[in-house]
């Protein structure tokens, strides 16, 4: 799960950078960059962190 989370987080960055080649208008690039940011944050907060919390010391 953590590895998938890392890939999703990286995907967010790729979406943002892809906006440079796939979109020409500033607004479209802004939209894609914000989407990429949301995907990356989702990967960290929604996937990587919960995967590492599964065996957290306070749950034992």
């Amino acid at each position: 799960m953590a590895i998938i989370g890392l890939l999703v987080t990286l995907l967010g960055f790729i979406i943002s950078v892809a906006s440079l080649g796939m979109a020409s208008s500033v607004d479209a690039r802004l939209g894609m960059t914000l989407l990429g940011l949301a995907v990356s944050l989702g990967g960290i907060i929604g996937m990587i962190n919960p995967a590492f919390q599964k065996n957290a010391i306070w749950k034992k």
């Binding site: 953590a2 890392l6 987080t9 990286l10 995907l11 967010g12 960055f13 790729i14 943002s16 950078v17 906006s19 440079l20 080649g21 500033v26 607004d27 690039r29 802004l30 960059t33 914000l34 990429g36 940011l37 995907v39 990356s40 944050l41 960290i44 907060i45 990587i48 962190n49 590492f52 919390q53 957290a56 010391i57 306070w58 749950k59």
Partner: protein
Amino acid sequence: MRKLHRSSLLLVTAGILLWTSLTWAQPAAPAPAAPAPAAAPAAAAPAPITVDDLKGVTAPTAEKRAAGDPDGALTGTVADVVVADTKAGLTIADLANQAGQNRVAINFVWTLVCGFLVMFMQAGFALVETGLCRAKNANHTMMMNFMVYGVGLAAYWLIGFAIQMGGVGALGTLGGTPVLNGEYSITLFDKAFGLWGQQGIMLGGTTYDVAVMVMFLFQMVFMDTTLTIVTGTAAERWRFSTFLVSSFFMGALTYPMFANWAWGGGWLALLGGNFGLGHGYADFAGSGVVHSVGGITALALGIIVGPRIGKYNRDGSPNPILGHDIVIVLTGCFILAFGWFGFNPGSTLAASGNGALRIGSVAVNTMLAGMTGAFGAMFYMWGRYGKPDASMTGNGLLAGLVAITAPSGFVNPMSSVIIGLVAGLLVCLSVEFVDRVMRVDDPVGAISVHGANGIWGVIAVGLFADGKSNYGGSWNGVAGSVTGLFYGDTGQLVAQLIGVSTLVGLVFVWSFGLNWILDMTMGQRVSAEVELEGLDIPEMGALGYPEFELKPQSINTH
């Protein structure tokens, strides 16, 4: 009712500041057209200096000099100009060379002294982090902050500086030395994407150069600031040997990589020239490059290393673990605020020429944002918890300083006040989010102070940059001044957000992967026994306070 009253006051204050900001942000109404002036005679071009102009220039006589110079009128005259050929006497070329060297000398001294101030920030970080930890870990926390300086310096000298600045090109304000000219690039979307520099490994070869040395010292102390951010988040449970290795890789690779993209002529800096996004990613003194890289890495490590024993109950609710010395915490905050006057104004790399006289504006912006950051956090804590919490007020000061670091060279004082105030509130909200929602244990709040507010600072450039700065007529190779959304350039905001996405999406993954590998090979965390005893004796061999009687730790496990 009292809480409601306080909240109302806060809302009204925030409303007034927002309104004031928007008023400032409006473009000035065009002035009524003035009547056309009468045709004036064409101004004569200034005449070049000739040998005749030097005839009236005389040095103070030996008799006058022998009498001393109590008012300073005789010191620093034409007699002090270095003459190339004493037989020929003073020439125009001598004067021109002296003027050029004076300018570069001013910039050298300015940059070096500012670098010395930034170096002293290490002491501030050490005090803040140690004070916010428990006495049983004081030696360990202090030693991490002490040795991160040496480890970072070694890594940066070996390879980090070359990766970051090895392709930056001529250092204009420091004499134009063109020896750092080896940027490795790839082509993407038909544009050059600079990835890393290749000149300057161990400061050898042609980089044995006076300007390069100044640049190295200044950039090195910035890098070390980044490394010391991480030690706060992982404090009280980080294995010392793994800390050394992790910090080495961060100083050699992680920091230099992003710093190259932003400051070394890499692809983020070129977003303006290549893709028309404002002036490219603009980060004046490093909200993103320094603080976000540190804060993002701290988040990655905080997730991997896990919370301290006793931080969370079995239902996931957090327990406060108080630091042992609020006095050194706030002393450390003051030292950091002092050092920040090197951090931000020093990032002009000049005090003479190329618009460098904005150093006054940069310094004032810095102190204003720090002030409102402290106010924002103090009033938030006062309103929400009933007391003006000292450690969070200190963190509010630092949050304001972190947030203004990127915009400090591009914004006006009113915007600085707003940026700092938002930072002071944001750090409190972020600490609560990290602590209660993510359940990542961050003893000093480094993820929020440096990560969240570093990102806010980067975004703030894209919002508040007022287009009035002028550092030699261009920034990142794009003519004109950096201008944010509120002053008409949406493209600049997009460039900033792509920088943020790189931090969150790429730097995080890199840092996480690196530290995960170290966790699997060396182990990041000390044993539970060592943690409960305190890391001072097991890890360092000596207590920080040997004459203290330390209380055994009690764990709340309801």
